[in-house]
Amino acid sequence: MADSLFEKQQYYAAAIEYERLGFTANNNNEKTEAFIKKSNCLNLIGKYEDAARCMGRVNYNNLPDTLIYKAKYQYALSAYLAKDFGNAESQLLQMQFFVPDSTITYTALPLFCLILNEQQKWADAKIKLMDYVRLSPSPQAKKDSIYKEIELLYATKSIPKMKSLKKAQRLSYILPGTGQMYAGYFWEGAASAAIQLAALSLTAYCVYVHYYVAAFVGGYSIFSKFYLGGINRLEYLVGKTNYERSRKFNDIAKEKTIGLQEKLD
């Protein structure tokens, strides 16, 4: 019944029936298979967190290696889709620990690479992808051309340069507005610098014409608000720039990784 619902693309109903199969299963192997299928159904309807939670219920005691591999892969995939990258990495590390036979686990390496990319561990991601090609049964000539593609993808100049929050803050402490410029927001930095310069000029002018309180209340308070506000905003701006850069690279890397996998298959 579960399989027929799956074939009819009634994925939620199928997920429930797979759960029922798990409930009525005679042994842990059958139960695990049912959970994997349920998780797959939930992934197909975009319920990634539920899918990962379902895989979290698998009992790994006395399971054969192939089933541990399948369950851990499904768990990592669901966690990856749910953007829980730390958990996804943890599942694959556990898989490598419990199933030392790399001929079984090597097909999980492209997923491992994607997970590491999302965590900005690009050097490690490259190693995983290289390992995947090395362990695949494809002809050496094909492998060599793919090695070159991976080298090109992860070349130093292609890896996104991340902006440092501390550096941006130091710049803005010394010269207001330069932190925003460094973070990639030139005009915002220029506007902030201009306003702070105007506020300081107003303060100086008020002092010059002996309006001391007005200099403090009017000029200095405006300056300090923009000075400190600008520094506080850097956390958001640097984070946004870094996210956009890594997203751009990871999207390209994802397409290429899937492409490489297809080429090897």
């Binding site: 939620y12 429930i16 759960e19 007005a214």
Partner: protein, 295 residues
């Protein structure tokens, strides 16, 4: 259609009805077991999906009670208290889930701040007086006292709290907490928004100090004083027609009026924050014993 044909049709109909009823019994038991398994594994959405497949017209009264209980319990675990209350209230007295359902539905309703409705529901709970239900009697008294606190009916709480034994384990600590909360609420003194406003009009920020917000009071005093000083300086140096006096005077007026209005509001905010904190504590103390008694 002749009489014989009618008779045949009737016999076939009765046979089919009986068969489907028998099938539904087996099916319901299986579904109920499966649903309980799903609930135990925190798969509440899946449990509701399964329960919705069960046709109420094909099950017995006992089964309908179980169905309503399972639906209500699933919604409760999903924190959908309104839906939970609707289903739990439908569980009849004949069911073994009756007391649990009634107590939890009263909690669900109270969580939605419908206190009079929750109190009425607690009043309607029927208990059989024997040893095993004596504990439920204590629990009922305790839950009623929670409602008395939530509705600020201190006379009712006085009466109900006289029955506190402080010895029935699931509620013994919470009974003491209720008495503490009761004392705090009774001794809480309302402050006057008018007095707070007047105080801030004389000394900026003093109304907020009076309301208990000392940090905000100092901030208001500093800001309004700075604006007043800048306005005074502009007046002394440029006179009342000078642009700087008009600019600083306008900003000072806004800050000054804002300080008074803020002080008036801070009294109300303080009172609301106090009762919100109390209500949160009471709801928590109302909930924990239910988990202890029924789980």
């Amino acid at each position: 259609m002749n009489r014989f044909t009618k008779l045949i049709v009737f016999i076939v109909f009765v046979f089919c009805l009986g068969k489907s009823q028998a099938q539904s019994d087996i099916s319901f038991t299986e579904q109920a077991n499966f649903t309980s398994y799903l609930i135990n594994n925190s798969e509440y959405k899946d449990a509701l999906y399964v329960l919705r497949q069960i046709k109420e017209s094909l099950i017995s009264t006992d089964q309908l009670d179980s169905l309503n209980y399972l639906k209500g319990w699933s919604y409760y675990n999903m924190k959908a208290v309104d839906s939970s209350a609707v289903y739990l209230q439908k569980v009849s007295i004949a069911s073994s889930f009756y007391h649990k359902s009634k107590f939890y539905s009263a909690f669900d309703i109270a969580f939605g701040k419908k206190y009079s409705e929750a109190s009425a529901l607690l009043e309607s709970i029927s208990l059989v007086s024997n040893d095993s239900t004596n504990s439920l009697q204590q629990l009922l008294n305790y839950e009623k006292s929670a409602m008395a606190l939530l509705t600020r009916n201190y006379n009712a709480f006085d009466t109900l709290s006289k029955n506190f034994t402080y010895s029935y384990f699931p509620i013994s600590i919470e009974e003491k907490c209720f008495v503490e909360n009761y004392k705090k609420m009774k001794s809480f003194k309302d402050k006057s928004p008018l007095l707070a406003g007047l105080m801030s009009a004389v000394i900026p920020g003093s109304g907020k100090w009076y309301a208990g917000n000392k940090g905000q009071a100092l901030a208001a005093l500093f800001t309004v004083s700075a604006m007043a000083a800048a306005t005074a300086e502009s007046y002394i140096r440029g006179g009342y027609k000078s642009p700087s006096f008009i600019a600083f005077g306008s900003v000072f007026t806004i800050f000054y009026v804002g300080n008074i209005w803020g002080s008036v509001l801070s009294v109300k905010i303080r009172k609301d924050a106090f009762y919100k904190e109390m209500d949160r504590n009471i709801m928590l103390d109302m909930h924990i014993p239910l988990r202890r008694v029924f789980n």
